[in-house]
Amino acid sequence: MLTIENLSATVADKPILNGLSLTVNAGEIHAIMGPNGAGKSTLSYVLGGRPGYEVTGGSVTFDGQDLLEMDAHERAAAGLFLGFQYPVEIPGVSNVQFLREALNSQRKARGQDPLSGGEFLKLAKDKAALLKLDMDMMKRNVNVGFSGGEKKRNEMVQMGILDPKFAVLDETDSGLDIDALKTVGEGINAIMRAPDKAVLLITHYQRLLDYVQPDYVHILAKGRIVKTGGPDLARRLEDEGYDEVMAA
């Protein structure tokens, strides 16, 4: 589904990714772990097409298409979802209005009919319930006045509504208490655990992986994948730390 080959990227002329390669097949969940500054968030923004993140080499193929040739909104319409580490507040725009316009823009780009207001609200209610987010919060302005945990759950509600093929979740577990972590983990499984979907989980900690079992765990350091293993690799990292595991 996603093939990253020898990807290099800079931010403000500083090289952050240095020849990163990774293949994610449909039905798989991959976790990327790594020390601070390894390039985890840069990878997510490069995949998401954020301005200012410049690709200097390599390629990314998504569902047979050249992902790097597409604008950010076209990537979303093609089925890519980026869960933000720091979800953005948008005063004056309600969650419901924002997501309905976003979903219908995606549907239009795919040649599908738009959802009516009623159909959309039903969908939003279902997904908000799945993530235990009060429907009143869906009517409030996007992320304004939300706690850290509410913002992250809202990201997952958005993912549920937009129903992507592939999700890159950048530290979705940070800022969550134990109960919210479980809710979010179960939400990810419910929304994304399917034979025709895939997930790239970027995380610092093993704890989210207790709920969302990855098929592969990669260690990212200095802008490239330095080690790949199964779920046990994440547990070893938690026990022994990056230095020891990477040296082994």
Partner: protein, 248 residues
Amino acid sequence: MSALPTTRDEDWRYADAAELERLAPADLDVWHEATLAPGEVRRKDLLLDDSHPGVHRVRLTVGEGARAEIFALASASSYTRLEVEVELGRGAHFQFGGVTIGGGEATREFVTRVSHAEPNGTSDQIVRAVHWGGATGNFLGKLAVARDAQKTDAAQNFRALLLERGASANAKPELEIYADDVKCAHGAAIGQMDEAAAYYMAARGLPPEAARKLLVRAFIADAYAAHPVEAERDALLDAALDALGDAA
């Protein structure tokens, strides 16, 4: 017949000098005058688009306990100026919501002179300016509170959103207060498009034009928030967003 104003006149200092020379002196002698009876509520929506460019002048005398509301959109592609002079009686209220929007080289401006002549009067003025190209948006708001006009509560708020380098905005609040027990607030801010919000919207699938429309709508909505009729309020917002259509 009046002499033509120049930009040396305080009230015209941000106007377009070349356009002022083209004004016919007769334009400046026309005042639309209205007197509101005690307790009367009167509202006027003014759409100053390409059918109504140039100088418009309104003079209101607002009787005891009466309420005057003006909601204006200045979106014409040439010099447009709305002047409103208001004299407020005891306990009277003046509500002004204005939006200047547009590109090109035109100046669009609101000039208000609100006189709180008697006690307990209130006024609330909210102006938003959205410009691109080499366009300018201005709000010159003069507020006079007479010695006897105790318990006056007056507020002015101006915010500008400049979509491109080259566009500009000017705010000139002017307060003359001779009473001691009053509340007079004014604020002005000029900013640019929130790039983080724009990217967040793109990442959810909104094309740049749709994202900008949603952000601009949220930005200008404050100006018309006090409009009591939803359909009329939406008509003003829609007309403003139509003007945004040609933005770069």
